[in-house]
Symmetry: C2
């Protein structure tokens, strides 16, 4: 079960590809502040991250799933080894990998951090959730925290001494945060919070001495809806003036959820203020909490997409290992037939190619998006920063939703490759599906992402961002000489046609504007965009690969594998683009007019 192999080859391949695409030969070190992120340094960091994944986290994946979490006398216990793994993570500086050096962080490029997080998610997705929350909280406090909050809380999140949580959801307020009712009342230099939060990842546990809760709540005189939400920092233990831990705050975990997957991650029902009100400190301005929280949510959404990359890769590796070992049926040989591993059967090959091509497309899209963050933050040219920031806005919902939709599919195929063995829990393949299944839901369901993409990012800005992205994609493809790659002619044609489909579909959404007919095809549009971007990156890789194949020291098998991925993706996903575009053009063919009673079985 702990046979996870960090796919450093493919990760480095994808990182180099997108770095060259956006930064030419200079790569990441061309960006101010990333001068030290040379190939050698990055490789060393990734080797180390991969080792942590394979040696520390992967062996805890199955045991963590079996053991799960429990609430004992008001204290949450996580599975054996998890606490120690986090301490080791902190000791290696991984908790502060994304934090700014002025706060004591490592300031790694987002691309490198995302690659590391992919491997940890492969190794142990449930473990990675609390680190995910911490990275998001670090980003939030760096941007919105007071000097004191940075000194007291941010610094300890960076060192890994403390961890954090993100408290949005309430029973009546899930996707719709306007319904939030947790109250905060001002009381001197702090506030008193009262209310219940659900689905809180890591709401309580014993990993660290303190937990920093970031909580959305409403002031007594706040305007209704989302414009009346404020953000508070509520420590589990209050912090004394000397920085030491003081009294227990009025917050506790009421119960743990019994879930389909990520059983090693405690999902808590949290109660604030049962005993007079939990003490909280305002982060940012009153009634501007949602905007501040969005800093955190954008980060978390990307990270959830990366969990999708990771869990898909893990499922792929497990299915691949089984398919190479399991002997069933025969293959033709020159003198008859010989026993065959099932990987030799065409239908199994088809399934593995679907998994492989999706995983590689997922990875490339995630690493391209991560680079967009780095470019948007660091590039010396403001026009370039603005351009990549616009890309990032579009790509965030795609990474979150398109990749996680694919991850669930990959994990499910992984079970299928195993046959009956895949349905037996001991095998481990089923856990990947159970774990993956949450990724399409949390941090904003994929339907919410699709609505964000179409409503805000496409219709909301008149198509400027999407047209910029399409221009960049087409230009990059045209700059490459694909004439030498005869086997890619069909893929190239499919990609060109997919660009046209995307442009048509986009025009259609813009012409119609917000309406039920565009909202009902928002998710198909997101799938279309994901397919186009994924196909584009796989095709770029394959074209480059085709020319590399002639080099004397070429790793032919790896490179041929990249071409196979692009071809299979072309067949299976690019081919879908015309269908999706037609569906968008038709506005759902009148089905948006369905009313609740049409669905009845009475």
């Amino acid at each position: 079960m702990s046979d996870y192999l960090p796919p450093l080859n493919d990760i480095r391949f994808a990182m180099r590809e997108v770095a060259e695409l956006c930064l030419g030969d200079g790569g990441l070190p061309a960006l101010p502040g990333y001068e030290e992120a040379t190939d050698d340094t990055v490789s060393a960091v990734l080797d180390e991250a991969g080792r942590f994944a394979a040696e520390i986290l992967a062996p805890l994946n199955r045991s963590g799933d079996i053991e799960g979490c429990r609430l004992e006398n008001g204290v949450v216990r996580t599975p054996d080894g998890f606490k120690e793994a986090y301490q080791q993570m902190a000791a290696s500086g991984w908790t502060g990998m994304l934090a700014m050096p002025e706060h004591g962080g490592q300031g790694l490029p987002n691309q490198v951090a995302i690659a590391a997080f992919e491997m940890w998610s492969s190794a142990n997705m449930a473990f990675g959730l609390i680190p995910l929350m911490v990275y998001s909280a670090i980003e939030l406090l760096q941007q919105h925290g007071t000097a004191e909050q940075k000194e007291v809380y941010l610094s300890r999140l960076i060192t890994g001494e403390w961890v954090s949580t993100m408290n949005l959801t309430e029973p009546q307020a899930g996707s719709d945060l306007s319904r939030l009712t947790t109250r905060a009342v001002k009381n001197g230099d702090h506030y008193r919070l009262t209310g219940q939060k659900i689905f809180i990842t890591g709401g309580d546990h014993d990993w660290t001495g303190n937990i920093v809760h970031l909580v959305l709540a409403r002031l007594p005189d706040a305007p209704p809806g989302t414009r009346g939400i404020s953000l508070f920092l509520v420590p589990k233990y209050l912090v004394n003036a000397d920085g030491g831990l003081g009294t227990r705050n009025d917050v506790r975990c009421l119960s743990l959820e019994h879930k389909l997957g990520i059983n090693a991650s405690p999902t808590c029902v949290m109660s604030y203020g049962e005993d007079g009100g939990a003490i909280g400190y305002l982060v940012g301005e009153e009634n501007k909490g949602l905007a501040a929280m969005f800093t955190m949510m954008n980060m978390s959404r990307l990270a959830v997409g990366v969990q999708g990359v990771g869990i898909g890769e893990r499922a792929y590796q497990q299915a691949l290992a089984y398919a190479r070992e399991r002997i069933q049926g025969t293959r033709k040989t020159e003198d008859g037939a010989a026993a065959a591993a099932i990987i030799e059967h065409p239908d199994v090959k088809r399934m593995l190619l679907s998994m492989k091509s999706l995983c590689e497309a997922h990875r490339a899209v995630a690493l391209y998006t991560a680079l967009c963050i780095d470019l948007a933050k660091r590039h010396p040219d403001e026009a370039v920063r603005t351009r990549y920031d616009a890309h990032l806005g579009l790509l965030t919902p795609v990474v979150k939703a398109w990749i996680t939709d694919g991850a669930v599919e990959v994990a499910s195929i992984g079970i299928q490759v195993h046959g009956g063995t895949g349905f037996i829990e001991e095998t481990g393949a089923a856990q990947h599906l159970r774990d993956a299944r949450i990724t399409t839901i949390y941090e904003g369901t994929n339907g919410i992402q699709a609505g964000d993409l179409v409503g805000r990012k496409i219709q909301g800005d008149g198509g400027r961002a999407i047209n910029g992205l399409i221009e960049d994609m087409k230009a990059a493809l045209e700059s490459l000489d694909a004439t030498g790659a005869a086997e890619l002619v069909a893929v190239k044609a499919a990609q060109d046609s997919a660009f046209r489909d995307l442009q048509d579909a986009t025009r259609c959404l813009l012409d119609r504007g917000p309406s039920d007919e565009t909202a009902i095809v928002a998710h198909p549009y997101l799938t279309l965009l994901g397919n186009v971007i994924g196909g584009w990156l796989l095709l770029l890789a394959a074209v480059r690969t085709a020319s590399d194949l002639s080099m004397p020291d070429a790793d032919r098998t790896f490179l041929e594998g990249k071409i196979l991925s692009a071809r299979h993706f072309g067949q299976e996903r690019l081919s879908m683009c015309a269908v999706l575009a037609e569906r968008i053009r038709s506005g759902g063919d009148g089905t948006a007019a369905a009313v609740a009673d049409h669905f009845s079985r009475a």
Copy 2:
């Protein structure tokens, strides 16, 4: 959790549709032996089956999942209430519903039995597995049993006094039965069996006094491969001459599997002959066991497809109920906005339409296939019998694989509709996915089904059967006047185009003959065929519906719902046919040439 509503409206609608299609106004009673299967009688039977599903089985679904099965001192215990439910099932005559009246059965039409089994599978899929085995064993013994076997064993399976199992799989012999090593040695009037079987559903439990194991094994002098397999009947308790139970046979359950789903169904590792050899009786001829077992497997494959219909419907109903209750966000009203149930949000509507249209297509395809059995067995005209028997051969892998692929998708969407709540086990939505996930695997993986369809049923008979089916489908559609249904113009065009795609793809498979390039697109071909048949039946229903809408007593909401299903299916599934056909034409675009090393991550 027990709020399952038998969808009798839609079941009766689909049954009437296909009965009229194949039998005109006469319907089922036009078939010799089914004279009594009038609308009224059938409705009464289905009402009763639905009541059993909703009142007895559905309340045990969640408790059964939680409690699971356990092996105690060599005896398997199933969850509370399951044994009693089976006894009630037997007392109502449901165990013998498909058996011939001369053996004491009810001789219900397959169509009626399949409709009943759908409802039981919705209510409690795990419970239905042992009945499924029993129906298959009854079919097998009716066809291949000796007079004595019929008297002693068949009669008791029909009354429900005993149950049966199906023992094929061994650790090294799953999809590939040629590797089977369980041995049977002749010893007077019986045989002695030795070996281990795995994945045996209901291998042991306490529902009935005896269990009749049907076991594949190999004689000492048998030819190698699948031509050397014989079938044996191995009772758990030997039967005395007076019909009473004698000594315990040399067979036992070694352990139970810990599975992703169907936890209420005991999946056993079985050991035969640890103490000198289990006594078994030959069924059919020596070395002809696989052919006899195929009788049983065809039945089981259809039944597994029907489980897919059932679990999808259950997931749909649960998601629908949640979507109607859960308030999030707002909808526009004349004077602003009002709180909205999530069913009013277009993206949720899209998901529910996908579920609804798939479930109804599944049901129609299953009931059409069931009618094919009735026609193939009962129609007075031999040419008609032959024609429907050929349809049945094609449809069996489609029902098994296309429906179960769809069922997993439906169950997964069901979780998505619930958002975070869907991931919590208490909700019950997750159980449907866990349960559904086995249906694409057992009784022959869906890849095996696709290979059977393309290799044996299409390429193996030169396309005669598929051309006959396509002719029938086109003729039925042409005979209906669709001119009055303006909203179906696009669906009709999509269906016509899908027929052409199917014909092209079929020609392509036939021209190429068996090869890796056709095997790698076997599953896409199966999906194409399923989409065409499902779309055809939904469109037929919608066309008929469109004309019924003008009737004064029309149930407008139900009928409009049928039209919405056809339109959504057209958009989402028929639209895929061109893509699938192109993929088949390209023979996988060279990806069949992939070798194991191309997949490596090393």
